[in-house]
Each structure stands twice: as C-alpha cells, then as structure tokens.
C-alpha cells in the first residue's frame, strides 16, 4: 500500500504543477473588457450614433408577453429597474414575467431561466446578464427560436441582441476619475472596489476610471483593486482588509454603491471619515444618507428606472416592426453633499414603499 501512496502523491503533485503552470499563461487580462467587443462604442464613431432620448411608443394593438431576467432583486438598483419594467409594461398593456437569478454567481440559474422563458414562448426577452460570455448560448437559442432579446444594463457578449441599453459606463468611469482627481488635488493613493467579476459595468467603468486617472492625474497611485459580489458585506470586508494592508488610503472607488456602503462603514469604524474620498455609483437610501453625512463624497447616479422603461419600449417597438436603435445610453449625474437636495430621483429610484412582486 505504501507504494500506491507514493504514486498517488507524485501524480497529484505533477498535476498540480501542470494546472498551475498552464493556468498562469491564460490569465484573462483586465484590459479586455467583456461586452465591449460587440458593442459599438460612442468613441469609435459607429454608423448610428447612440441614442440618448427614447419616447414612449403608442399603446400596441395587442397584449404582448415579455420575459425579463435580471441578476437579482435584493439591490435597490434593480428594484428601481424593475419598477421601470413593470410600470412601463402596464402603460403599454404588456404582460411581464420577471425572473431573478439570485446573484451574479448563479449563472446556471439565469441560463435556465432564459431557456424557460423561451419554452413558454414569450414574445420578447429583456436580459440584464449575469455574465458576458456565459449567456451567449442562451441568447443564441432565444433568437433562433424567433424571440428577440433586448440587453439592458449588464451586457452579454452575444452579438445577436436587438439593442443595448445602458448607462454610458465609459462616462461614469471618467466622472469618477475627474471627481477623485480634483478632490485629491491630483495626488494620493487609492483603492478600487470594482464590483462583480465578469460583468460589463464593472469592467468598463473600472477601466475608464483607470485610463482617465492615468491621463489626467498621473500622480494618483492605485494601491490595489478587488472584485466582489455587490453587497455591503463584501465591501466592508474588503475595505477592512485594505485598511490593514495600507496605512494611508486617500480614496476609494466603487463600481456600485452597495460595496461603497460597506466601505463607508469600515472607514467610520477606523475613524477616517471626511479624510477619505469615497466615490460610488447609484443612489440607494443608505448611499444618500452617507452622502448627507459626508462619509461618501460623491455618487454617480444611473437612471435605472429609465433603463427599465426603455427596455420595454424597445421591445414593443421591435415587435410592432418599428426600427430600434442598436445602442441607447441613459444619462448619468453626479450627486454630492452640495446638490443632494435638488436632485430629481424619479428615474433613479422606485417610489418609496414599492416592492417587486415576489419571484
């Protein structure tokens, strides 16, 4: 038996070396942002310029059934978006099935949900993808079955979608960089909490942020960057670890606002509020509170409700055989302590007390 043990041990070591060795070689580079390959960027000058206004079409003659798949509904960002979907559908007389995958890590669940929507023969599918590459197959199947797919918020790598509706993530990234650079007077050390790995928003925003910083504020150093799920708990944990590792952190970039809330709590616990610049994206209630208290310095608001509404509008337009622009960009706005009272939140949040139907 001892000989067998040694052989097993050798086999395992060999395999481990091979795996680790070969693995390194194909480390996906952070520069290749998933989802951008197919989406024409505003800067490359596509033949059709991205649209930034999108009116409600007339109510269609018949009731369409629309299936919607989003990553999760435990984030106010998606709750707002859900309000957009449902309210708009009500206005346009469409019946909606809203499904959530339970989190960015449940790719298998979202693929299954898309398949189920296809099987129940909905007229159109609106998809906020849990993963860029992972949803390619499912989208392909849907389109092959004659069901158009409208991609909202988080991009899929598939090029078969009817249109892509999102914030201009490049602009968001740059807005973060501009704010951070000015607040820090062009010099300092920062960390990045980028958000969910493999999503288009985390990639594009983060890369645009870094690029802008390198161009305009070369003296700002990025000490470290981490991906995580979009929850305050993850933000808290990562920020605490960063604070332990680096004695001096002047700024924290957040791809979302859930991680910013966690980071803010870590900063508060360390007593560094007011001394650390925290930027976030989105505007849930806790984010607003922290901005008023001066803990979070600024947040870039996304018009997530608008994204929802435009998703439904695009679907109806396509089904009514009207042309649909390939890219629709919703507006963004920077919120700070100074302007927080004057903000119009109609397109940013669901009405107070509204909850999506249990799904």
């Amino acid at each position: 038996m001892k000989r067998l043990d040694r052989r097993c041990g050798a086999l395992i070591s060999l395999a481990a070396v091979v795996m680790l060795g070969c693995g390194r070689g194909t480390q996906p580079s952070n520069e290749v942002a998933p989802g951008t390959a197919a989406a024409p960027s505003a800067e490359t000058g596509a033949t059709t310029a991205p649209v930034t206004e999108y009116a409600r079409p007339p109510k269609p003659s018949r009731q369409y059934r629309i299936g919607i798949a989003v990553p999760h509904l435990s984030n106010p960002h998606y709750v707002g978006q859900a309000y957009g979907y449902l309210d708009e559908a009500q206005n346009l007389g469409a019946q909606v099935t809203l499904l959530e995958a339970g989190g960015y890590q449940y790719l298998d669940k979202q693929v299954s949900q898309i398949e189920d929507l296809v099987a129940s023969k909905v007229d159109a599918i609106i998809l906020a993808a849990v993963s860029g590459p992972g949803t390619v197959g499912a989208v392909q199947d849907a389109v092959a079955a004659g069901i158009p797919v409208i991609n909202v918020n988080v991009m899929t790598d598939s090029d078969k979608v009817v249109t892509r509706i999102r914030s201009d993530d490049d602009v968001i990234g740059r807005m973060h960089a501009d704010f951070m650079g000015e607040r820090l007077n062009g010099a300092g050390s920062i960390v990045m909490l980028r958000g969910a790995p493999g999503t288009s928003w985390a990639e594009i925003r983060g890369n645009a942020f870094k690029k802008r910083l390198a161009e305009k504020f070369p003296n700002i150093k990025i000490l470290g960057e981490q991906y995580s799920q979009s929850t305050p708990a993850d933000g808290l944990r990562l920020m605490e670890d960063f604070l332990q590792t680096y004695p001096e952190i002047n700024g924290v970039y957040n791809g979302a606002d859930t991680t910013a809330i966690g980071a803010a709590q870590a900063i508060l616990a360390a007593g560094k509020q007011g001394k650390t610049v925290i930027t976030a994206t989105d505007f849930q209630v806790d984010t607003e509170k922290f901005i008023r208290e001066g803990v979070i310095s600024a947040s870039v608001l996304q018009q997530t409700v608008t994204m929802g509404r435009w998703g439904v509008r695009a679907a109806i337009n396509y089904l009514e055989k009207r042309p649909v622009p390939p890219v629709l960009l919703t507006a963004q706005e920077l919120a700070t302590k100074e302007n927080v009272n004057g903000l119009n939140l109609e397109n940013v949040r669901a009405p107070a007390g509204w909850t999506p139907p249990a799904r």
Binding site: P28, E115, P133, V136
Partner: protein
C-alpha cells in the same frame, strides 16, 4: 416514490399544460442533468457510509481547468483536463478519508472550501471567455429529440447502476456502508475501495462540470454553489439511507426526478423561488420520515 412522481406530474400538468410540451421536457431534463450527474457520484459516497460535500466546488474547479486548458491546447484536451481535474480532486478526498482516516464529512468539507479557492486563484476570480463555439454543442445540442446533457446523464445512470449492482466494487460499496468492521474482517480492502468511491464521485463531478461549462460557454469560478446539498437531497429523497448500506441508483433517479419536476412545475405555476425552497426543504424531511416509518413497521 414512483407514485409521488406520477402524482406531481399530473398535478402540474393540469395546472399548466405547458408542462408536457416537448420543449419544456427537454429544458427540464437538460437543466437537471448537471444535478443528476452529481447525484450519481454522491450516491456512491453515501452508500459507502460517507458523503461528498465538495462536488459543488468541484464544478467550479473543473470549469476553470477545462476552460483554461481548452484555450491552451484545444477542445478535446480541455474536456479531458476538466474531467481529470475532478477525478484528481476525488483522489485527494479519497486519500485523506481512507489513509489519513479523516471523517468524510470533514475531508470533503475542506475540499469544498479549498477547491473553490483553487478555482478562484487559477482564474483570478474572473470568467474565462473565448471558448470555441463548437463546445456549446455539448451543453445546448441535441441528439435526435434529446438534449445531449440529458443523454449523458442517462448514460451515467446506466453505467452507475451496472457498477453498483453487478460488480464486485459495487458490492463492496454496500458492504462498507452496511458494516465497515465486518467488511475489513471479510477480507475487503476497505482503504482502496473507499478511495475509489471518491474518485468516482470526482469523475462524475468532472463530467458535470464540463457539461455546465459548455452550457455557459465560459469557465466560471463561481459555479456550483449549494449544488452539493441538492445532490445529497436527491439521494436522500430517493430513499437511500444517509448512513449507508441501503439504497441505489434507481432511488437516486427518483430523487432527481422529484426535485426536477417540483422545481419546474412550481416555476410554471409562477410560485416564487423563495417559496420553492421552503417546499423542497419540507419534502426532504418528509421523504426521509416516510422511509424510516416504513422501515420501523417492518
């Protein structure tokens, strides 16, 4: 148990006739094929008196290894590497359990955590894209009217059934689960066969992981969370005894069908997934209770 399945199917079928449609059946069977493959391996582990908590994380590990090696070398090499990675992890589990004599629960729990760590490390936490489009066929393709993953799961069932009921290894699995000390004293090399059990479980996880990767056409280090628990649930709902020595592949098939039909049926009648979890939890306990009650009456 078969009666329960028929009742469930009839009930759901009447509530939503879409249940019986070809596409729905294809979908459900394809979606359940991953869990089915995991449950096959889990059956071996549980019958032998042990358990494999690591199979969910192995899905992630296999996915990452498969994707990376596919990009490095090619389609077939990637698939092979993925399956072997599963088997290798199973071998490590087996060594720790059979040689170091660490209880299976603890050993595979450690692997659950470690394997996901390895998956995240190898991939840098990011998904691995760029896999050849032909690979998608394995996850989304059809063989005649049947989805390929479903055929693989069926093949897996047949193979596992033959092994468990018609080979010496299968007999020893039951013997170890029924009375391990008596197995030793009957001349069975318990250490070697225990190791084989976990290698088998790892290989099934390997196949499942490759199929799942094909479905999402990318290597994903976050796959498989909680799946190990569902694989245990399938085995237990089917009627195999959690302490080992009683049960079989047929029973696991029942368990997988129950979970699949329940999940799909409840989806079709628009029951929220939160409520679905409550229902499944109740069914798990209920199924075991019914089995035990029947045994006690004997």
């Amino acid at each position: 148990m078969p009666a329960v399945i028929v009742i469930l199917a009839v009930v759901f079928g009447s509530l939503n006739p879409n249940f019986w449609s070809g596409t729905n059946m294809a979908n459900v069977s394809r979606q359940m094929s991953i869990l089915a493959l995991l449950s096959l391996g889990q059956t071996f582990a549980i019958l032998s008196g042990g358990i494999d908590l690591s199979v969910g994380s192995l899905l992630a590990l296999v996915s990452v290894v498969c994707a990376q090696q596919m990009l490095n070398f090619g389609l077939v090499e990637g698939i092979t590497a993925g399956i072997l990675a599963g088997g290798l992890a199973g071998l490590i589990n087996g060594l720790v359990i059979a040689k170091a004599r660490v209880p299976a629960f603890i050993a595979t729990l450690g692997m659950l955590v470690a394997a996901r760590g390895v998956a995240l490390t190898l991939s840098g936490g990011l998904p691995i894209a760029g896999l050849p489009r032909e690979f998608l066929v394995l996850g989304a393709g059809y063989l005649g009217p049947f989805p390929i993953p479903t055929m693989l799961a069926v093949a897996g069932f047949v193979l596992a059934h033959v092994i468990l009921s018609r080979t010496r290894f299968g007999r020893y699995v039951y013997a170890m689960g029924s009375n391990e000390e008596a197995a030793v004293l009957s001349g069975i090399n318990v250490a070697r066969h225990k190791m084989m059990v976990y290698v088998v479980s790892g290989l099934f996880a390997g196949v499942a992981g490759v199929v799942l990767t094909a479905r999402v056409i990318s290597g994903q280090p976050t796959l498989g969370e909680v799946q190990e628990l569902y694989s245990i649930a399938a085995v237990v709902i089917g009627g195999s005894r959690i302490t080992g020595g009683v049960g079989g592949i047929g029973r696991t098939l029942m368990g997988v069908l129950v979970l699949g039909i329940l999940g799909n049926g409840l989806n079709l009648v628009q029951v929220s997934s939160y409520v679905q979890n409550i229902v499944i939890g109740i069914i798990i306990v209920g199924a075991v209770y019914v089995d035990l009650a029947r045994e006690r009456r004997q």
